[in-house]
């Protein structure tokens, strides 16, 4: 198949950027693939691993002549990156990104997007607890969802091109409005991560000097949380700060529900516990039926 793009530029070359690079090259999606990242050390690693044709530290220079530019930095950096690279974006180029939050990223990036450049936000729901360029692997997006959130006044052809790019990376694609994306992801991803971070911290504090004992018996359920709570700190700090309203709303509901259970435990109301536990079991079954488990 002919390459979709002549030049692909990745700004940021962590887990996501590196995985895009590896898979895009394997599939021949672009004739040239370059990357840029702020830290020299990261660029050196990317070059050593031969993730792209070249990785530098000049973000703007990397975007010159690129047909598709994908910003793969933590969401808190997206606005600043857009500002830096804007002067070098060529007319007709597509600018995309991969942030876990959409409304805030659009708010931060869009003002810098030059006329004639098509801005198409997207979000691959894929990742591991590892980060950095060494963590990338080409199969990361295989069978995972990528959500494309086109802007209301955006170019339909560019949006479809980004969608097709993600399909060729192995993803299933869904289009969604940015606000709805932020709500759904708040539920299925941001709240679970926040809870996992909290519980691992609480457990660690409580264990105190007998920490090794807690770690020893982690298979009892705790272990699943530690994996999630090992996700990239910078990425997740930015997610929570940038999807604040949705996260706080969901968190309020969660707290309410948790207090309800806490009270049921205190007063020995087993029926309330049993009722919820039966319902959540059914939800797992629905997930299995939809082949998402």
């Amino acid at each position: 198949m002919a390459p979709m793009f002549d030049k692909l530029a990745l700004i940021g070359i962590g887990l996501i950027g590196a995985s895009i690079a590896l898979k895009a090259r394997r599939e021949g999606l672009a004739r040239r693939i370059v990357a840029a990242t702020r830290r020299q050390e990261t660029a050196d690693t990317a070059n050593k691993l031969k993730l792209v044709d070249h990785c530098g530290t000049d973000l703007a220079a990397a975007c010159e002549d690129a047909d598709l530019v994908i910003v793969c930095t933590p969401v808190g950096a997206c606005g600043e990156v857009a500002k830096i690279i804007a002067p070098k974006l060529k007319s007709g180029a597509i600018l995309s990104e991969v942030g876990s939050v959409k409304q805030a990223v659009i708010r931060d990036m869009q003002p810098h997007v030059p006329a004639g450049v098509h801005f198409v936000p997207a979000h691959p729901i894929a990742g591991t607890e590892h980060s950095g360029p060494e963590a990338g692997f080409p199969e990361l997006f295989e069978g995972r969802w990528a959500i494309v959130t086109p802007l209301p006044d955006g170019d339909g052809v560019a949006a479809e091109k980004v969608a097709e790019f993600w399909r060729r990376l192995g993803s299933m694609v869904e289009f969604m409005a940015p606000d709805w994306h932020d709500k759904v992801l708040g539920i299925v991803s941001h709240l679970p991560h926040l809870i996992a971070y909290t519980i691992v911290g609480t457990a660690d504090d409580m264990a105190g000097e007998r920490r090794s004992e807690v770690i020893k018996f982690a298979a009892g359920g705790f272990r699943d949380f530690t994996r999630i709570a090992a996700s990239d700190p910078t990425m997740w700090r930015d997610v929570f700060l940038n999807n604040r309203d949705a996260v706080l709303e969901i968190l309020g509901r969660f707290q309410e529900d948790l207090f309800y259970l806490q009270r049921a435990i205190r007063w020995g109301e087993g029926d309330k516990l049993f009722e919820l536990f039966t319902r959540t079991r059914a939800i797992r079954r629905a997930l299995i039926d939809m082949k998402q488990a």
Copy 2:
């Protein structure tokens, strides 16, 4: 190797009982293995699956002449079961159980244990989100911890026999005091389960009519919680009601920590988030170093 016991009786034949039966037979740990369960339907299933030599519904009768009796019911039923089987326990027999809570189970069972019968509580930290006799498999305990919590005035030889039995089932064995067991398990297992149940319920409520969309994107973190929240409702209701004090204490700490993060998100205090997220990542590494991940 010679069988450790002439007759092994399992009271309750769900995931744990069935897995003990299958592995004990495979290893030749007892000459005869019988089981009993209250529901005729469950007994029929156990017999159909040939899990044991015979499974009936008369709990006391099954214990006749048994050298080792293991109660494998939800912890809330342990006291009543002990009362029922006590008259048939032979002198010198070992009575054990597998509950996820130790203090409450000892409180409920011990008064019924006849003189001359050695009561040795134990807890295999192993399980899946499936339950019932069909869910059992002989490898369940392979490489997993089994905690034995001998009573202060209990028989040391009997305790060592129970420990050896679990080692032969494939487990690594640790001895622990019952109150410390309940605290550690509250942290590594009970709290994580309670949180998982809550979050899955909250997500389900919030999703409302767009439930299928939430399920679709569950890979974002939510999925890990649904597995835990699919665990047996009766078993877990009993765990929370019977480890109430430890769970409420841990839950209080968790709530405090969660409010701290909630406030940090509201006020945009990214450093507080980053600090915790960095710490929890290190905990995951410790887990990996201890080969528990």
